[in-house]
């Protein structure tokens, strides 16, 4: 039970953090963003504890089931963002990341406390590996898109010569581009490994690596899109606006597809 309390506390602090970030955008002061960053750190710690407690009580890796999946997704985003913020001076990026985290956490809380046990089929380290790696990869892509969105905003402000404090508040183009790059180049190998682990496991359970399942197709699509983006970056030398724009487009397309998939398709890749 304490896991749920911790989760709710973390959610509440994430919400406050998002509000404080919004305020910092409004008043355009770095000071408030600094407070928001600390709030996010606190929320992350409590969130981590909620995972630990859930892992303890259920004995199953806490990344299975809608609630846990989403919660884990939000957790990776928060952790990765904070880690990136240490590396680059991009404090205000949190104003874009934190609402997304909140949204995901709110959706996650709908299913709160639902499934505690998991079906036997999902016990095993291969599943855990598959789920965690894939989710981490996808969360990093989400972060890359946040940075991309911010890049586009800053780019258009600079292009249109919108003199004012918003330009000053937003991070520099190069830092945003770097975050986009780091997230892509870390997320892609993780997702690749996640997909590999999944297909190995599918071979064991379903007898074949590939099922033409909507969720599998979606994942492959995501993998392909981001692989393409990374290729363009590394080989063709895409940088700046184009890379930012495309990572945002890919993200929006994938999110739309997820919603469609949930609404209109049955999947065998759903267990709880």
């Amino acid at each position: 039970m304490s896991g749920i309390v911790l989760f709710k506390t973390a959610l509440a602090i994430y919400l406050v953090c998002a509000v404080v970030y919004a305020v910092s955008l409004w008043v355009r002061r770095v000071m408030t963003a600094r407070v928001a960053t600390w709030l996010m750190i606190v929320a992350l710690v409590i969130h981590t504890l909620s995972f630990a407690s859930r892992w303890f009580t259920t004995g199953v890796s806490p990344a299975i089931g809608l609630h846990d999946t989403l919660s884990f997704f939000a957790w990776v985003m928060a952790a990765a963002y904070l880690a990136l913020q240490l590396k680059t001076k991009t404090r205000i990026l949190g104003a874009f990341v934190s609402p997304l985290i909140c949204l995901i956490m709110v959706v996650a809380s709908v299913e709160l406390g639902g499934t505690v046990g998991a079906p036997d089929i999902l016990r095993g380290s291969l599943v855990t590996l598959h789920v965690m790696l894939s989710l981490t990869g996808e969360a990093l892509f989400a972060l890359a898109s946040c940075a991309g969105l911010m890049y586009l905003i800053q780019d258009s402000l600079l292009k249109r010569k919108k003199a004012g404090s918003l330009i000053r508040l937003l991070p520099s183009l190069r830092d945003l581009d770097r975050i986009n790059n780091i997230c892509l180049s870390c997320g892609f190998p993780l997702l690749t490994l996640g997909v590999l682990a999944g297909s190995l496991w599918a071979r064991i359970v379903w007898g074949s690596h590939w099922q033409w399942d909507p969720k599998q197709i979606w994942t492959l699509l995501a993998w392909g899109f981001y692989g393409f983006l990374l290729h363009q970056r590394l080989v063709v030398g895409w940088q700046g606006r184009k890379a930012a724009l495309w990572s945002l487009i890919v993200f929006v397309v994938l999110v739309t597809l997820v919603i469609f998939r949930k609404l209109f398709f049955q999947t065998i890749h759903s267990f709880v």
Partner: protein, 418 residues
């Protein structure tokens, strides 16, 4: 004890007047010693910058001291009193504190938010301390003023934004490239403006600098000065692919850098390019600014940034005034307590002395009582005194919290002959 601030600044006095006062009070001719010799002056602080001359003095409670201070300035300025009177301002007590806080926080500066004044103020304070011209009051005020300046600096954006064209260019460059180390600049035209902008950029640690100029000798001379590389004027498009920032400021009648040159330069290397066109007529074709990853700013755009920043500073200044009002309030509370606390202590000591004296005088008959009874009499006396003193003392403390406690304190002191 009273506080006076007397001085003149760029807002009240013309340059010649400030000059004269500064020369006479300036280096070597330390006015602090002389100030301290004035009748009634207890503590003094003397601040002189290119825009202001100010004397802050803590004096005994009479008009004589102000007159002495004024005549000191007239003497120093060696000018007619009528002329000087127009330029001088005199602030008293809390107004003096407020003025000092505003000056230290750079709200009263010519360029609002400039950082030098805090250093100058600290230096002035150091001089005063060295000359043993400061005491409890001025020490406290000075330290408080430094804190206020720091608060204003961190809590408002008053010093945050560039108010000159070349600083605006540096700020924009930072918003594009993050940090400017390892970036390289190309100057097209080695004029005064481009030199200034280049200097600012170099101070930010820009990696290398190339200079193209129609007169090659000038390019060479400037390259020598900046440790840059001179480039023949008609060959500057060739180095374009290697640079990140271009500053154009030639006297050419038409565009010398067009969109085709820029896209050709970007084709070979995918990256960001910041073009600064400070020439009139313009050197860079505006179409170049339409290209992806290219940011083109001309002199008007930069001026717009500066104007917006100026406006921003004005808004921030209002926040700063609020902070200062708050801090003056805090100082007032401390200042009042400064008077009140010793008064309360003195009052208590006096009354306790009376009780003790009376008990001793009655020692003869008190001696007839036993230990227990004697204790009771002592307690009785003490509690009567405490009851009587309780209300005046709490009243005194409360009074000091928000209002001017001086009349109250003075009355208590006179009534009890403290």
């Amino acid at each position: 004890m009273r506080l006076f601030l007397i001085g003149m600044s760029h807002k009240t006095a013309p340059l010649e007047m400030r000059e004269r006062l500064q020369l006479l009070c300036g280096e070597g001719n330390q006015p602090l010693a002389e100030l301290m010799r004035l009748a009634g002056v207890l503590e003094a602080l003397y601040l002189a910058t290119c825009n202001r001359v100010e004397i802050l003095a803590c004096t005994e409670d009479d008009e004589q001291a102000v007159e002495a201070l004024k005549s000191f300035i007239y003497r120093q300025g060696n000018l007619s009193i009528a002329e000087m009177e127009k330029c001088l301002y005199v602030h008293q007590d809390l107004e003096a504190v407020r003025h000092l806080f505003r000056v230290t926080s750079s709200l009263d500066s010519m360029v609002m938010g400039e950082p030098q004044i805090l250093g100058q103020m600290k230096e002035a304070y150091r001089m005063a301390v060295e000359s043993r011209a400061t005491g409890v009051l001025l020490n406290r005020i000075s330290h408080h003023a430094f804190q206020v300046a720091k608060r204003v600096r961190t809590e408002t954006g008053i010093a945050g934004n560039a108010v000159s064209v070349s600083y605006a260019a540096v700020e924009l460059a930072k918003k594009i490239f993050g940090d400017l180390k390892k970036k390289s600049i190309l100057l097209i035209g080695a004029g005064e403006m481009s030199e200034l902008a280049a200097r600012h950029l170099l101070r930010q640690g820009v990696g290398s600098i190339r200079i193209a100029n129609r007169t090659y000798a000038r390019a060479e001379a400037m390259a020598a000065e900046f440790q840059g590389i001179p480039v023949a004027f008609d060959r500057f498009p060739e180095v374009l692919p290697e640079v990140d920032i271009v500053i154009a400021s030639t006297g050419a009648p038409g565009y010398i850098l067009n969109a085709e040159m820029v896209s050709a330069a970007l084709k070979r290397r995918n990256r960001l390019l910041f073009l600064i066109d400070i020439a009139v007529p313009r050197d860079i074709d505006p179409a170049a600014g339409e290209i992806d990853n290219v940011y083109l700013y001309n002199i008007d755009h930069l001026q717009d940034v500066v104007d917006a920043n100026r406006e921003g500073r004005r808004v921030e200044a209002m926040k700063a005034e609020e902070i200062i009002a708050e801090e003056v309030g805090a100082f007032e509370r401390w200042f009042n307590a400064l008077e009140v606390v010793p008064t309360i202590v003195a009052l208590r000591e006096k009354v306790e002395g009376i009780v003790k004296g009376e008990l001793e005088r009655s020692a003869a008959w008190l001696g007839k009582l036993d230990e227990e009874e004697r204790k009771r009499v002592e307690i009785l006396a003490a509690s009567i005194v405490n009851k009587i003193l309780h209300e005046p003392m709490t009243g005194l403390k409360e009074e000091s919290r928000d209002k001017d406690a001086f009349p109250f304190v003075a009355a208590v002191r006179r009534l009890f002959r403290l």
